[in-house]
């Protein structure tokens, strides 16, 4: 799954808009497999953290009410070329992943 996540940081005056699109099923646990009728287990990102140069700038707790392949966007007041923006997350089954990019 790694590599299919997207993280974009677009300079905007002195700051930057940070946008991400993460690959995750965000299963509520209420759906059934259309083929077998078996319930599909709940599987969702629980905790997410955004850092700039190893300092947390935003953190989140999510439930299964966040849409599949979560999208999140916010604005950084100040950004400098070379700043490293890192997003990491953990789901309810213990899977972890992260993505990072540098401000151009």
């Amino acid at each position: 799954m790694a590599g299919s996540h997207k993280l974009r940081v677009k300079r905007d005056g002195g700051g930057a808009q940070v946008k991400m699109l993460l690959r995750h099923p965000m299963e509520t646990g209420a759906r059934k497999n259309p083929g077998t009728g078996e319930p599909i287990p709940r599987n969702f990102i629980q905790e997410l953290r955004c850092e700039r140069n190893d300092k947390v700038i935003l953190s989140a707790n999510w439930g299964w009410g966040i849409s599949k392949n979560p999208y999140l966007s916010f604005h950084l007041h100040q950004a400098q070329t070379g700043d490293v923006i890192r997003v990491s997350w953990k789901d309810n089954l213990g899977n972890q992943d992260a993505i990072e990019t540098q401000v151009k």
Binding site: T28, A30, R31, Q46, E47, R52, D54, K55, V56, I57, L58, S59, A60, N61, W62, G63, W64, G65, I66, S67, K68, P70, Y71, L72, S73, F74, H75, L76, H77, Q78
Partner: protein, 154 residues
């Protein structure tokens, strides 16, 4: 003081100081452990009281909620929440008609604008609530969202 104990004690304090300086111990940037009871709560009041720790929430017109109207697909409803209340440091989202209303909790830092965009699931036509925290107090706004196709199975 025994020298060995003293050294141990100062090492521990030094480590705590490093943690504090790196932001690891700063309460504003460290969320509580994932609040299971809040996300499992089946009523809006239950979800709010468990996620916020209070039901004392004041309605405010300084919070803007943007959504498409109507929302064609309840499984993917784009939401933008913006707060014009000074010192906003958290944003919470709830879907009033969802089987479990708590959607998300965001802890902000002064480095970012109190303006978050994401996409949520809404099970049926009803209110989307945004609650923000500023200076330890809670303020809310709600927006009625018409959902054409419910999204809770998705």
């Amino acid at each position: 003081m025994d020298r060995r104990i003293f050294l141990k004690a100062s090492l521990a304090s030094a480590q705590i100081a490093v943690l504090a300086a790196s932001g690891l111990l700063a309460p504003r940037t460290l969320l509580a452990q994932w609040p299971s009871d809040a996300f499992h709560a089946e009523t809006l009041d239950g979800a709010m009281s468990r996620l916020l720790g209070t039901v004392d929430v004041e309605a405010s017109d300084k919070i803007g909620i943007q959504t498409p109207d109507p929302a064609e697909n309840g499984a993917v409803v784009p939401v933008d929440v913006r707060s014009d209340i000074p010192d906003t440091d958290a944003i919470y989202l709830f879907g009033a008609k969802n089987p479990t209303p708590a959607l998300a909790a965001f802890e902000l830092t002064p480095e970012i604008a109190p303006d978050i965009s994401c996409r949520v699931k809404l099970g049926a036509t009803g209110d989307l609530l945004a609650v923000i925290r500023a200076n330890g107090r809670f303020y809310s706004a709600r927006r009625a969202v018409e959902v054409v196709a419910g999204g809770c199975g998705a």
